[in-house]
Symmetry: C2
Subunit: 581 residues, 2 copies
């Protein structure tokens, strides 16, 4: 490609609404252009990146035996009503009425449609397994779209759906996809982690997120530097403390803590470690009758160490809380504790509550908690002696760096990541809702066992940039760069040798199948270099008259701080080496 024949449009300044670096750089490098809130044109430079991402995904999906199809963007509401998602999905699901007033949705994902396809076509277990995928435009009507392609409303996703005869086969399909995802993410040339994720009601370990590591990432990733363990924060288990509960050594004492409503403030006031304090959180669960009226409410007191945070996913798995829970109202708190939040604790309750205690708190001795009286805490609290043993003990907190790894092979570290892929075992959730059956080997109808597998095609470039950039711009991995090599001739209009050498190298690289762009726009060298550093082409060759006279050209990788001289006569061979051709 010659730059004069392409569409290059760089900006000095990013627009004010571009809050994160990938959004800023994608706008400045002319990869995308905003059309509306969360809606972007994929400009020619950006589309090249997207197409490369798509091609890698497509190749590896095909290699893994998945079959490409394409489902409509505009889908009739009826299928979404079968699974209840038409109502359940809320305002993120963009709904349309056609000219006849019929309801449609703009697809945010396609479980319903693909299940509908399969329930029509799959009659026998002999036709299984099957894995269908598409790379297609999606829409999610985010309340507050932002961060460019990172959280846009219209986006491109690769979504795959596996169909199997039983759970065993479904797990093979799942692992096959998880393997394919590792190949895909390896090929992107990004640093990433596959992390265990919560699989919700289905249980088991068949849910993994693929996270591109970046300091700016939305998600906290938990991993063990000395083992393979990696999980997202929702999933990562905080092991039970190794030792037994310590002996009580302090006496119970009520201490004035005026205006100190947080554990940190109390610890500071009393001059004690935060790790000796305990925070109280009050939840409630409602029991309803058939008419939907609440007939009984149970109030729960959760105790966590002062430096720990509650993990809602884990709490949601505790028996009694697993149906649904909410934070208690101030009235309910007053009713049970006779006190406002900030000074709550498990002692001196007005009414009994159910006591759920984190594993860590269950082994503590001589701890500090609220006195259920404003401006007072109690110190030297000890289990059994001062209050009964907890009703329930469970892992209900987020892990912190330094916690032991659940696999027993070291301690946990935490880093940030951007989720760009997810593999998930669905079970029969959709096939049951939509009555998608096949005849099993025993001749009886059985529900299809499903899995779903997504990759955010347009999110991936944004994640790649968050991970790979500097103050000059983007730094693309070769595999997804809009161009792999840029040739910058210096004033070729004045120096025929420069033009000839540039054209020759350009032809050689094109002939070798290299994605090369020759900058023939006639820009000044400074402007030319700034453009390509902003755009992030990984390999740059500069050809000038003085260098040629001395027998060299200049090569600079986008990560290099300076250019290096390369023998002009062997420049092509040199580049082949750099590109591993």
């Amino acid at each position: 490609m010659k730059a004069s024949q392409f569409f290059i449009s760089t900006l000095k300044e990013a627009p004010a609404d571009a809050e994160i670096v990938s959004h800023q750089l994608m706008m400045r490098a002319g990869l995308i252009k905003k059309l509306g809130a969360g809606i972007y044109n994929y400009m020619p430079m950006g589309l090249r990146v997207i197409r490369k991402v798509e091609a890698i995904v497509r190749e590896e999906m095909n290699r893994a035996g998945a079959i490409e199809m394409s489902m409509p963007v505009i889908q009739p509401a009826e299928l979404w009503q079968e699974t209840g998602r038409f109502e359940a999905m809320g305002p993120e699901l963009l709904r349309i009425k056609d000219r006849h007033g019929r309801d449609f949705v703009v697809q945010p994902t396609s479980e319903e449609v693909v299940t509908d396809v399969m329930r029509q076509d799959i009659r026998s277990y002999k036709q299984l397994p099957k894995n269908l995928y598409q790379i297609q435009t999606k829409f999610r009507d985010e309340r507050r779209p932002r961060f460019g392609l990172m959280r846009g409303r219209e986006f491109i996703m690769k979504d795959a759906y596996s169909f199997d005869r039983d759970q065993t086969a479904a797990k093979v399909s799942y692992q096959n996809m998880a393997q394919a995802y590792r190949r895909i993410f390896d090929r992107f040339g990004l640093t990433y982690r596959a992390v265990a994720a919560d699989s919700g009601a289905i249980g088991g370990d068949l849910s993994e997120e693929f996270q591109v590591i970046a300091a700016t990432g939305e998600d906290a990733i938990v991993y063990c530097p000395t083992s393979d363990y990696a999980a997202n924060m929702e999933k990562a288990e905080a092991l039970a403390p190794a030792g037994p509960r310590q002996e009580a050594s302090q006496t119970l004492a009520k201490t004035p803590t005026p205006g100190k409503a947080t554990c940190a403030d109390v610890a500071e006031l009393l001059g004690i470690p935060l790790e000796t304090t305990v925070k109280s959180l009050v939840l409630a669960t409602d029991l309803s009758n058939e008419a939907g009226e609440v007939v009984k409410t149970q109030v729960w007191l959760l105790l966590l160490r002062g430096d720990h945070n509650m993990n809602e996913i884990k709490v949601g798995k505790v028996p009694g809380l697993d149906a649904s829970f909410r934070f208690a109202s101030l009235a309910e708190i007053d009713d049970h504790f006779g006190c406002e939040p900030g000074y709550l604790g498990p002692l001196n309750l007005k009414k009994p509550v159910k006591l759920l205690v984190d594993r860590e708190v269950a082994v503590m001795a001589d701890w500090v908690c609220g006195a259920n009286e404003a401006d007072f805490h109690i110190t030297g609290v000890n289990w059994s002696r001062d209050l009964p043993e907890p009703d329930l003990i469970a892992d209900i907190r987020n892990v912190v760096a330094g916690d032991p790894s659940p696999d027993g092979n070291g301690v946990l570290a935490i880093e940030r990541g951007i989720e760009v892929g997810h593999v998930f075992y669905l079970g029969t959730k959709y096939s049951q809702a939509m009555n998608a059956t096949f005849l099993g080997e025993n001749g009886k109808p059985q529900f299809l066992e499903m899995g779903c597998y997504g990759i955010g095609i347009t999110r991936l470039p944004a994640a790649a940039i968050e991970q790979n950039h500097d103050e000059r711009g983007i730094i693309w991995p070769d595999a997804i760069a809009p161009f792999t090599v840029v040739i910058c001739p210096i004033t070729p209009e004045r120096f025929p040798d420069v033009k000839a050498a540039s054209d020759k190298l350009y032809s050689e690289l094109l002939g070798a199948g290299v994605d090369v762009i020759l900058d023939d726009r006639g820009e000044r060298p400074g402007a030319m270099f700034a453009d390509w550093e902003l755009i992030g082409v990984p390999h740059r060759v500069t050809i000038g008259d003085r260098g040629l006279k001395e027998g060299h050209i200049e090569y600079q990788h986008r990560r290099d701080t300076a250019a290096s001289k390369v023998d002009a006569a062997t420049a092509f061979d040199f580049l082949k080496g750099k590109l591993a051709l």
Copy 2:
């Protein structure tokens, strides 16, 4: 690809709502699956065809210097309001409100968005010309979607838009695209015609449709078998008759024609050629004041030869009718003619009308027309003698087969076609509406000169099938076949030599880059052949034990009536020849 690893789903019967053969065959061959009215899943077999169409289009667009980008499917209404199309497009434009109540449309085309992109990025004539294209999902909310992908609601279109500094340059861009389209349609391997089309208000000859020839086509195509002339029916000119008007030889006579309200009936009753009769059509034009109230209505009488039909496009270009016209009401007709339609004519009018006469009628003598009296016609009518010369004479009729070709090189023939592409010079229609300017060489802002160029990516396969099918199924041209070659081994599970020979040929073809499918499903030969004939794979190789023992395999092109024996040892070379490798 091995058939067992693919998704093959053929049907014995087409669904009842599939009215045309391409729709029936696409459903039966499992290329598409209906999701809703005019909305289809592109199944794996169909998507392969679509991807091949896309690839050819993309290659040739790139070769022609067009640059690929991708515009959103969901577009904010504001841009569409700038050009007035948000209101003007009517119910075919699918409108959406997002969660905040803002208006959006699902793109049916993207002139507004691409013009918005360019008005932001193009500052100087030095950046021109540019041609941007996308291959993207579109939606048109047809009142009555039907015919499968031929007239669906959701479809894929390649839409390109050229931007130039002036009309001269715009015409170069237009011709460049017209040439690229010829290359594209040549590569598809279909019989097609590029036909001149009406370019509306812009005028000139810069509008061509690309029509795939098929007896079932919606459009009438006019062409000259002995020259290059081709146009659609709207555009094709009916030349003025060569000779002068004939002399009058009959006297004027009123003739009873009870119940004979059409020219054909009158001609039959009177035993005269239909070509001597004249039909009367009554139109009206309204002159409105600034408040939009009609202040004056002009009634027009149009005269056409009894065997000719009115061409509304041509009528709409006649001075006085070019703003807008309508058919006259019965009241208006009675007011001017004192008679109901069926017996109207230009003689004995109650009130004067404007008389617009087709060129053919203007040279007729001794003709027959209505008497403006129910159940009566007048014979022997002659210009000047019986009524004044026409107010206007123009070409206002559709051509018929046998008319002289407008290029003077023969006579016209008519065939049917399916429009799958269109190249169109737009001028400054959109750039003026959206104030899309650039600084010209003279330093002054000028409007961008535009052209637009569409190809119906998902319509093309349907058109290909209408043109190429037989009672057994589809017959794909090699270029867009889902698979180029199918290998059908006969009971390979019983004959290891069959399996070995099939696997070997499969590997050889794969290695040569041939899109081959090996049918390893274990189907009976009859069912296997029926499937592949229905699906329409152009080249079939059958490998059986008996043939191998005799040293041959069988080859059958989809158009062949029977298989032919091919030396097994040189089968690969034979196929290379067939595939022009």
